[in-house]
């Protein structure tokens, strides 16, 4: 089956299936969402207005047997940052969408009335249905009800109440193989889906399959690729401790943002660490190792049970645990798990929301460390959409303004995640220059600065950081186009067989002859395309800066400040 573009117009409530324009054909995932956003969304439009679009695109390899290829990209103009946005998630939707022959789903327009809808995607196209029962409900109820309605295997994409209320921290969730959730967390695209009054999207591939041009070559490449992933020691550690293994090493390095970014080490670090989490998962009969989609051979996800041995949360990641933990000084892992589950159900980005809580704590809303207080605010304010709840759900920047706080860790209004840029300078360059606002995944300098994967750059020195972030951001943009989970990057940085095998997989899938240089050029094209959108939306180089407090508040234990000049940061774009 040849791939098509599925278009849904929510103003006219019509759908159609279109041929793929020639200049979109080589793209997938982030490369495709950013290409379509740039082609079709006016950069100055209001993100919640009728002219913004939500683009959903599987990666180039999604739906094939390639290991770890099930990431789904969501793109549009972000209500949080006002920039272009791509946010991706695991779950089963990318694979099943690809099997529908859907290269991208474009959701445009906005209905006039107050009616809510759901969409059903199949190889024949998309149908629009009125939805009443699940409006006002959380993601968990959407999953259980829709699973009850559709007996056969399907994928599900949905928003919680916060997406319906169009909060800027609202995410989009994707069901995984076991009915739990993975989220395209950052940038508030859940609010864009809510503005179009689409509560959920189901995907039924029927007997659709992804065609592979050269199956023999594909199989051989996948074998090499899978071996590179599974034999890398970091993949093995991810399987045991999950990404939360980072709490202790980032703390040891003095870069764990604590108490709203006022210290680089957290006294309670070991209580929320991956090691402690692993012991607790084993004691309570959970599962330390779990994949977010079939075909994942790394399995960084896990099932975390509560004290009674009942399921509490999964995909319990370092960034979420850091944010609700060290940044808010909560050292009770069960409170953090409960908050994680609430945020999943409400459909909130756990980084943005937790950093917003940290800023609110500094503003006097709660004492630092008050895990119970956080749970109460999530349940009684955010879930109900009270004034305070909407401020928290509007993200860290809005909370800072509302509470008169000067120490607001955001870039382009998006919360800075779990690595302090004063103690780990390479990641600061990524935060500053990313086309998406502060986002560690855009150029994960932690690998080289702290973990010593793919070389070694001194985290406290400026030398080499701009170049490092540039190379990582270019590579990441390309990887984000393949549908690959970013955790393949550790193997890719260290194992010389990994990237060539990945390129062979793409070539065998499409019957083409990409080279390593083509892939680098793809990454560069994506970054430049995204930046051009941002410039047309009104962003300038002065937006590529970290918040001022990083320059005048030294961070213990290293007592370092952020000391890159604007010129040095801007040299990032010299390519």
């Amino acid at each position: 089956m040849s791939d098509k573009i599925f278009r849904v117009n929510m103003t006219t409530l019509t759908t159609c299936v279109e041929e793929v324009p020639a200049n979109w054909a080589g793209h997938g995932g982030r490369g495709l969402t950013s290409t379509i956003v740039t082609a079709e969304v006016p950069p100055t439009c209001h993100p919640l207005g009728p002219n913004n679009k939500l683009i959903i695109a599987p990666g180039l390899l999604s739906g094939t047997p390639a290991a770890n290829s099930g990431r789904l990209s969501f793109g549009g103009k972000s209500p949080l940052t006002g920039t272009i946005k791509e946010s991706n998630a695991g779950g089963t939707a990318a694979q099943l969408m690809a099997r529908c022959g859907c290269k991208a789903l474009i959701l445009e327009g906005r209905p006039a009335g107050n009616t809510w809808y759901s969409l059903a995607v199949s190889p024949k196209g998309v149908t629009i249905n009125v939805e009443t029962e699940l409006i006002g409900k959380g993601n968990f109820e959407v999953v259980s009800t829709v699973t009850g309605r559709i007996a056969k295997k399907h994928a599900l994409i949905s928003i919680g109440q916060t997406g319906e209320m169009r909060m800027a921290a609202a995410n989009i969730s994707v069901k995984d193989s076991e009915g739990h959730l993975r989220s395209a967390g950052r940038g508030g695209l859940g609010a864009v889906m809510g503005s179009k009054r689409v509560k959920f999207i189901t995907i039924d591939p029927q007997d659709g399959k992804v065609a592979i041009a050269d199956p023999e070559k594909f199989k051989a490449a996948n074998k090499i690729f899978t071996k590179a992933l599974t034999s890398h020691p970091i993949s093995q550690g991810l399987g045991q401790y999950g990404t939360n293994v980072l709490v202790n090493i980032i703390n040891e390095a003095g870069g764990l943002p604590t108490k709203n970014f006022t210290a680089g080490q957290f006294a309670g670090h070991d209580k929320i660490s991956g090691e402690t989490m692993y012991d607790r998962i084993m004691e309570r009969g959970g599962k330390p190792k779990h994949g977010c989609h079939p075909g994942c051979v790394i399995q960084c996800s896990q099932i975390y049970n509560d004290l009674k041995g009942q399921y509490k949360t999964s995909g319990f990641e370092y960034e979420s645990i850091w944010a609700m933990g060290a940044d808010c000084c909560v050292d009770n892992l069960d409170h953090i798990a409960e908050a994680d589950s609430l945020m999943d159900d409400l459909g909130l980005d756990s980084i943005e929301t937790s950093v917003a809580m940290g800023v609110a704590m500094e503003g006097g809303l709660l004492e630092f460390g008050d895990g119970e207080g956080i749970l109460r605010i999530l349940k009684e304010e955010v879930a109900k959409g009270t004034g305070l709840g909407r401020i928290i759900g509007g993200g860290a920047g809005l909370v800072g303004k509302t509470f008169g706080v000067a120490r607001v860790p955001v870039v382009k209004n998006q919360a800075i995640p779990a690595y302090d840029p004063r103690a780990i300078k390479g990641i600061g360059i990524t935060y500053a220059t990313s086309t998406m606002g502060a986002d560690h995944t855009m150029g994960y300098a932690i690998a080289t600065n702290i973990l010593k994967v793919g070389g070694s750059v001194d985290p406290l020195a400026k030398e080499g950081q701009v170049e490092l972030s540039r190379n990582l951001q270019i590579a990441t943009a390309a990887i984000d186009s393949t549908g690959m989970c970013l955790f393949i990057a550790f193997a890719a940085l260290d194992d010389a067989t990994c990237l060539p095998a990945l390129i062979d997989l793409i070539n065998a899938r499409f019957g083409i002859n990409l080279t390593g240089d083509d892939v680098v050029n793809l990454g560069k094209y994506i970054l430049k395309t995204e930046r051009a959108f941002n410039e047309a939306a009104g962003f300038t180089r002065t937006d590529d800066r970290l918040p001022e407090f990083f320059e005048y508040e030294p961070l213990a234990p290293h007592n370092m400040v952020w000391d890159f000049t604007g010129e040095e940061i801007d040299s990032f774009w010299d390519f």
Binding site: P233, L246, G254, C300, L486
Partner: protein, 74 residues
């Protein structure tokens, strides 16, 4: 001299989380790793007092040494 040694991830299994240990002067990071029976090839990162250090770095009295296997996340 007294060194505070902190172990992480599976290096803790059958050993300890944090202990103060006594070593002769000029003991290196590798010396401590070998003394603890840790496979040096499995070591990813070592830090003395929150700074990365090479395996042949000599320790000084009162140092805090962190030993990590190869780990990652993000």
């Amino acid at each position: 001299m007294k060194i505070t040694v902190r172990l992480f991830a599976f290096f803790r299994e059958g050993r300890f989380i944090e202990e103060q240990l006594e070593y002769p002067d000029r003991t290196t990071v590798a010396g401590v790793i070998n003394d603890l029976g840790i496979d040096i090839n499995a070591v990813g990162v070592t830090m003395i007092s929150s700074r990365h250090c090479p395996l042949d770095a000599e320790l000084r009295d009162g140092d805090q040494l962190g030993i990590f296997p190869m780990i990652g996340g993000g």
